[in-house]
Assembly symmetry: D2
Homo-oligomer: 293 residues x 4
């Protein structure tokens, strides 16, 4: 299949490579020429957005945020003005559900099925082709795009109608941030009360406090190997990115007037962490807010 | 063994019954005569605290809070004034770690080993003999008391020196409250954004948001069977009790000057819930704060 | 002077009437015909936006939020496409500072001075002509527009360059929300601890807890007369409007990555209040979250 | 009058000096001999607590916290065991209202009127004799003690029955902490959005955001002279002391099951500040949590 791929950053680049490896033809576009070159040297062809959209059998986008998604899809020279009838569009950006739904509705109206398919799994998962895709759209569109996504990920989950991929991703990441901070508080408090961190983690992990942030990604140094806490909080999922997602989720909550007391506190704590210059660290480094400097 | 058991409430009563069933002799005491009678009709003998402490081969207490623990152990007619040399004391109350350590230190000084051994598992676990005991004390004391506790529970965990049973329990319950509220926010926000709750729970449970509050005790009605959310939030672990534990944990944090931003917000949200007359409901009913009345 | 006035809602209508009373000619526009009629019967002329902008000696707008401001100013048939060179525009809407700055920059580029001039004082102040105008723009533009604004308000304050009127208003309202909730907590806690509310308010008002929310707008019924608390929280500044401002301020904080821990909690508490159906009440009714229902 | 004064720390010492200056006879006691000496060189006599209580015409105490108040009043060699019938006791310590009420009830039962009379105004006010006394007790006891307190302070306020002096002080200080943090957030956000801090403070101080923390004690450097912010946050009211009061107030709220969402967040933010080694600074230095380090 000839796939048009727009957005070749840290995530898009390895995803595109996996599509090439699987034998797909690739038409690529990015605002940064160097990002494009990395893929043309591997056999992809370069094209401006309009031409790319007009030639592709499937359009895939991986963009930083909502304004870029609107621009790339809705502008005069954009995807929807140039895509052929019936061709499908897949947006893997993490954006707010309302924008996702609005853009998909415009696409649907002109006869182009569109799904939102944000990913989790980080750059590591993108390289290895083990991403999770959370897909929002009609069931038949999900089935149609599933094989292509399966080249880049290993869990391809249908989350319901348009926008629900974003909803699932944002709700998950909000809960992730909350439980990570909860683990950070429980671990530092336990240590301050003279409890051995490894023993404490062992108890949490077999009790009702059990969660991914404790048993798989514990932020307290020395509890687990091969996690960011074991290597100075490098690698992993950056705090700035978590803050971006928390900004999206509190914004989405505001639009539907749904309180998110803890989600909002989590956003503020990550904002504090970023203010203090730690935004490039893994998000589990939030535990450092709870430790003496 | 002749066991002295003080405190025969909702938890103590079934625990004492399991000791009787296992063939132990029981000397019991409670301020409420009816509670005592329930056990004497099953073969236990009744005795005032002083006599009980003087005759028992092991003293076990299950009391509502720190002042009662101080009173029962430290007063003139109390346990430590009457217990025989070398006899062990086990306090299964949930109290603050500092009081636990102080009382155990007094006991140790006069030659009586003492461990703190708070439980989790609720009245159901107490009936079934499947409680978890989190034990703080010396390793040899832990080994000595383990067989007796095993009659009442199935996980008997050594958490380190004196007081650490309390620390483990409080840290776990703080994390539990935080993740329960996090799940409540994620689920209600997802629903408000038009996502099917069961689908959302399924995604959280296989992603980084995974936690006990989501996969085992989900607060959103209709997601799981056999949880309080499936029966109007009856049964389970009452919000008032969770609030009590959050009071203990924030107090312990205050003493060591350790911030617990989320733990403290959790305490306040449970305080709100109790103010609004819902304190008798299961603690997962906190989700109702996030739903229109 | 011939003034073009766009946006004739609860605030705009009485403001426009005061301009008429002061002898100004008025060209008015609103999407709701009935709102227009109320003013044409008083002597104002009606005109579509383009014509209004082309004829007016000064354009004044009072719109619900940022998208409307963008639409009214920047669209093809909008103000900036039709306004005469050198004519000044004044936007009295409460919107985010970034949008205010962007629109003013477009205006400035084409030679039209523009200031943001959000108001405080409520519909009462609009009727009485006693509003406060917080003005962002160049000093000379402030001086030029001041006499006109003085017809509608009594405090006309220069807050610095473009956008700063919005910054001042949002920062003030965030602090207002925080101190109102603070007063609500202090008053209900005092009452729960058996202190007479009037005595407590008296002490706060002469101590370091003194604030406008306590000494001028106390939310506890019976403390002050002629405040919303004295009449079932009717009238005043609606909780929904406060929530809107808190949404703007946390959004503005997010853009500059500035933590607002309390501002964010205030937003969530107002979101809770609105969820529970009390959004139409005065914002001081937030105290009801702290009282048994 | 012969006054017995127990507790001669930073506050008690200058208060005692003012009583001497006013011509009272003084019997003093403190656990630190040097503190006693400072006053005996000025003419006070030293005595152990029992003798002091037995000879004094009025007993005044100024102690660090609740346990010391219990010890000094209730122990065998303490005030109440030795005080003469009808002699009055005044406790100026800042402690929790429940302890204040309990101790006063014991005193009342044996025929000794007792009032709680915590102070505000800091060491500066203690030196200058301009403290505020918030007095809880019977009206006739308030009148009786007022002239003596007037030697040390200039506002002597009756807050209602026993314990209400503490309630008033704690509620005020909670509101103070909340509004100080609110001002810190408003000022730093305004600055981050390019507003001049002095201009912003000027607007807040004449608008609905007006409060003591903004108009009298602004935490933003350069806004006011002669405040801690103008001298590196030295002097003033230490963050550790504010944290102590916030601990008392959240504890008092817990006992009556009253939510204090913002009060609790304030406590946590001061706990963060103290964790990061800034507890000795004035409490207005909380603003530094909101500024890049």
């Amino acid at each position: 299949m000839k796939i048009g791929f727009i957005g070749l950053g840290n995530m898009g680049n390895p995803m595109a490579r996996n599509l090439l490896k699987a034998g797909h033809q690739l038409l690529v576009y990015d605002v940064i020429p160097a990002a494009v070159e990395k893929l043309t040297t591997l056999g992809a062809a370069s094209a401006p957005i309009g031409q790319l959209a007009g030639e592709a059998d499937l359009v895939l986008t991986m963009l930083p945020s909502s304004p870029q998604v609107r621009e790339v899809y809705l502008s005069a020279g954009g995807v929807l003005a140039n895509i052929r009838p019936g061709i499908m569009a897949v947006d893997s950006s993490t954006i707010d559900p309302h924008t996702a739904r609005e853009v998909a509705a415009v696409a649907a109206k002109q006869g182009n099925p569109m799904v939102d398919a944000p990913v989790s799994g980080g750059t590591g998962g993108a390289e290895a082709g083990t991403l999770t895709f959370m897909v929002g759209g009609r069931a038949e569109d999900f089935e149609r795009v599933k094989p292509t996504l399966a080249v880049m990920g290993k869990n391809i989950v249908h989350c319901g109608p348009s926008g629900n991929g974003q909803v699932a991703k944002l709700c998950n990441n909000m809960l992730l941030a909350i439980s990570m901070i909860g683990v950070a508080e429980a671990m530092t408090l336990g240590a301050a009360l003279n409890m051995d961190p490894k023993t404490l983690a062992g108890i949490l992990n077999t009790s009702s406090g059990r969660c991914w942030s404790s048993d798989t990604y514990n932020p307290y140094p020395g509890v687990l190997e091969n996690v960011p806490a074991a290597r100075g909080y490098t690698g992993g999922f950056g705090a700035e990115l978590m803050l971006k997602d928390l900004g999206l989720v509190t914004e989405a909550a505001k639009r539907v007037k749904q309180p998110v007391m803890m989600g909002s506190l989590a956003q503020q704590l990550y904002q504090q962490m970023c203010l203090h210059g730690e935004g490039q660290k893994d998000f589990s480094a939030i535990i450092r807010l709870y430790q003496q400097r």
